[in-house]
Symmetry: C2
Subunit: 385 residues, 2 copies
Amino acid sequence: MSVRIAGVASTRYGRHDASSARELFADAAADCLADATVPLADVDAVYAGNFMGELVEDQGHYGALLADYAGAPSRPAVRVESACASGGAAARLAAHAIEAGAADVVLVGGAEMMYPVDTPTITAALANAADDAYEESVGLTFPGIYAAMARRYLREHDAARDDLAAVTVKNHENGVSNPLAQFHRPVDADDVLDARPIATPLGLLDCCPISDGASALALVSDDYARERGLDAPITIAGSGQSGDALALQDRPALHRIPAAERAADEAYENADVDADAVDVAEVHDCFTIAEILAIEALGFYERGDGVRGAATGETAVDGRIPVNPSGGLLAKGHPVGATGVGQLVELAKQLDGSHPNQVADARVGVAHNVGGSGASAVVHVLRGA
Amino acid sequence: MSVRIAGVASTRYGRHDASSARELFADAAADCLADATVPLADVDAVYAGNFMGELVEDQGHYGALLADYAGAPSRPAVRVESACASGGAAARLAAHAIEAGAADVVLVGGAEMMYPVDTPTITAALANAADDAYEESVGLTFPGIYAAMARRYLREHDAARDDLAAVTVKNHENGVSNPLAQFHRPVDADDVLDARPIATPLGLLDCCPISDGASALALVSDDYARERGLDAPITIAGSGQSGDALALQDRPALHRIPAAERAADEAYENADVDADAVDVAEVHDCFTIAEILAIEALGFYERGDGVRGAATGETAVDGRIPVNPSGGLLAKGHPVGATGVGQLVELAKQLDGSHPNQVADARVGVAHNVGGSGASAVVHVLRGA
C-alpha cells in the first residue's frame, strides 16, 4: 500500500498584510485540488500544520477552521503541532490515515502568519518550541540556540564563519528564480559576512526570515488514484520521524541532530533506498548551520564534511546532490506550520519535471523537516515516475 | 485489525500548584505503562493532546516534550490539537498509526494546566477554540456561546432552566465516589439554581471548572497483545470524527451539534452497533446543556427529549443508559487536552469492571468529545471482554 501525491500548491511565502492564515490556506487548498483534479467532495479529512496561531492571531482550533475555509467544514480535521516540523508531521499522519483505510483523500495543509506581530513578540513565540523551563524562561531564543550549535560545530571541525556563508549564497541564488520564494535577490559572501550580527557566529543572512504563507498537498490512496484514473505517479515511498529532549543541555552533543539521523535512517529503510539514491533534497535550513547538519544527518556527507557542500558547488542545482533548489527556508521563507508541507510541494514539482530550478532526471527526493533545535525531525522519501 | 487498550491512568483532575503539564503527564504515563505491563522500551510513538500550552506555560512542542518526560525522548511524537476534542483526536490518530502498521504500541496522552493563569486569562485562552474573526474578537466567550445554545434549546423544546440542573446534580453525585474527580461534594437542584449567574440561563454550577490534569492510554496492536501474552481484551471497536464551522453564526441551528451526530453515526457503523447496544457513555458536558445535546447526538434520546435523561434518573449509574458515571467534565473536571483521553480511561475501567461507579454488565462504552461549540467532534466505541 502506498500513498500518492496527487496535487500540490503553495502561496508565495513572505508578507501578506491583507490576509489571514485561513485565507492563505483556502487559496493553497483550492489550487492544490485543482492541480490534483480531485473534487472537494472527495476530500475525506484535513490535516493542518500550524505552530503559533494562538500567539499571533488569537486563534487555535486550526484544523476545523482551515477545513471550513477550504470548503470542507464537515470533514474530520486536526491541527498537528511539532513546532517547525508541524507540516512534515501532518503529512506523515495523513499518510497513516490512508494506510489505515480511514481515508482515501486527505488534504494536508500548513499555514502560518508571523508578520502581524512585531519581531520581539514573534521571537518569543518561536521560543515556545524550546524548553520553557530551561531555555525560554532564561532568555534563550532560537538564533542563540543555533549559534551555540554553530560555534561547537566550527570548533569541532576546524571550520570558520566564512564556511557557513556559502549556504546563504547558494540558497538565495536558487530563490531568485522561484516565484514562490520570499526573496529574489542574489547575495554574495561579503553580504553575508557584513550583515548585522544576530548571535555570533550568525549574522542576519545566516538566519531565515519570518514569513506568512500556506501550502497544501492532496494525498490519495492507490485505489482512489486507479479508480479515478488520476495521473499521480509520485508516491511517498518512505517516512521516518524521531524525537529528542527539547533542551539543548540534555543532548550529548551540540553539533549534530540525532533525531534527524534516526528519522533519515527510518525513511531510507522504509523506502528501500540509501542516501546515494537521492537526486534532490529540501532540508530545514532555518540557519546556515542547520543545512550543514541536515546534509550530514541525511548521509550526503560524513560528519564534519557538510561544510564542503555549498562551498564546492556540490549542493547546487547542477551539483552532485542538489540541496534546497527552492531557496530553502533562508530564501524561500519559513512560515513555520507550512514549511514541511512546502518542502513536499517543491519536491513533487521536481519529480514531475516542472520546477523552476529543475534538477535533471530527478526520480528520488528527500524532505527533511526539523522542530526546535532537533527535538522533532520528520524525513520523507518521495519517488517519481 | 483492531486496536486494544492495554492500560490506562489519570492524575486526579483539579488544582496542581506544584506541578507542570510535563510532570503530570510523566506520572500518568508511568502509571499507564505499569497498568498495561508494557515496558517503556516498547513504546513506538507518543501522541499528545494539549490545547493552551503556549498561553498558560509559554510552551509549545508538547509532543516531544511529553515524550521526553515520559522517558521516551527518541520516539516520534506529535501534539494533536482540536480544541477541547484534542484528546479524543489524539487517540483516533494513534489508532490509525497502529492500523497503518507504523506502530505496535502508542502512548496516547493528554495534559493541560489551567490554574497557573487567572480566570480572565484562561477564559480568553479557551476562546481560541472559537472563531477569532466573528466571536472572540467581539467579546464572545464559551459560557456565552453555550448560553446561546441553551436558550435556543429551551425555547425550541419548551423546557426551563430547572431542567438543566438535574445534569449537574447527577454528575456531582457521581463525582463524590470517583477519586480522580475534582469535586467530591454533592449538590442539589437549589444549589445549581441559586449559584452565581454566569451567562443566562447558565449559572456557575452549569459550567465545568478549570482544571489541571493529565491522562494516558497504552494502545497496542492485536499482534503485539498476542505475542506478549497481554491480558488486553478491550478494543477500540469504532471511531468517528466530524467537523463544522467554528462560528456559531455559520450553523443552521443553535440547539444541536451536527458534527457530533455525524461522528456518532460513523463510530456506530464502524463498530457495527447501534445506540441501543451502548451500556455506558462518557460525554462532553462542558456545560449542562452540552450533556443534553450529547445524549441526543448519540441517539440515546430523540431531539428535545434529552432533558429527560438526568431528570428521570435514566442516565444515572443504575439507569437505562448511564451517562458520565465519572462525574463528567462538570464534576470530574476539564483539563482541556486531557479530557478526551480521560473519557477513554474511565470507559476502560467500566469495561474491565473496576470503576468506582461501576455500571453492571458494561460491555460497550461510548466516548463523546467535542471541540469548541461543535466544530470538532470525536466519538469512540469501546468493547470489553
